[in-house]
Amino acid sequence: MTEAEVWKALAEIPDPEIPVISVVDLGVVRDVRVESERVHVEFTPTFLGCPALEVMRDAMSARIAQLGAEPEVEVVLDDSWSTDRITPEGREKLRAAGFAPPTPRGEGTTLVQLQSNGFRCPYCGSRDTALENIFGPTPCRSLRYCRDCKQPFEQFKTI
């Protein structure tokens, strides 16, 4: 078994909360190493309180076992995951599904910035959007409203 085969298999696992993107699109797989019969995966959680984390970890183990290898999924609790790790393909899939992808990490997030109109509506592309609520249906998202097409939408938080 090669590392490329493992990456390909993991790329078929959907995010449990937003199944339009895969765990590889989400950037939570930091490394894959094949050591004879054992496959070692470094998994970096998104938000620490996210209930999807166990589901992702178990789905990765099950998929690797299906390939006939012994899975070893290591959960890495450091700052190496950021929304910047979502792949360009992942960002486009999010946008097409009505979720505004996160803005780049940059200099850090401020209230003034969140309340500004620098966020683009995933439906019509307008930047004339307003913050409705810093928190949304899951901890990783905020709620915004597009003043142009009158559509509320979910904006990924930048972390």
Binding site: L48, G49, L77, D79, S80, T109, T110, N133, G136, P139
Partner: protein, 187 residues
Amino acid sequence: MSELLLEIADDELILGWRDSEWTGIAPFLEEDVAFSSIAQNEVGHARALYELAARDLGTTADALAFDREPSEYRCSELVELRLPEWERTIARHVLYEQADAERLERLKASDDPEVAGLAAKIDREEIYHRLHAEMWHERLKDEPRYVEALEALRPLVGRRNGHSPELTTLWEEMTSVRRSQPAGTTW
């Protein structure tokens, strides 16, 4: 170091439970959502911190979170109180987030790379709690009831030399399911 990790984990766990008490009954829907999300984050932070401490102490995160007596928790009195008044909840939120930010800054500079890494990750999520607290502080800062609540709660921020009786009540609720099962039950 494990003592400091426990102090922070206990603060986050207990505050997470208190924040979750607003689910469904906050003054408006946006705040139901906000406090529920914040509670979920805080409990998630507590779990990660307990896991790190558990490795040093040779136990498990669940045992640290739920199998100790109330007197063994190291949380501050600020997080223990049941605060059904909105202005007091917001005052606690503002005071806690300020103190937590300073503590996380120190932890991010730790010599232990696991501790520093986890602190940096937690801090990224806490930014949104701080922005939420800042937004409410701006709204309420001239409101006498809020100003009074801030002054009343401020002395409790770092007070860890005893517990409010309210912690025991919360502990009973928090651990009732776990205590109803024989030790060693797999969940």
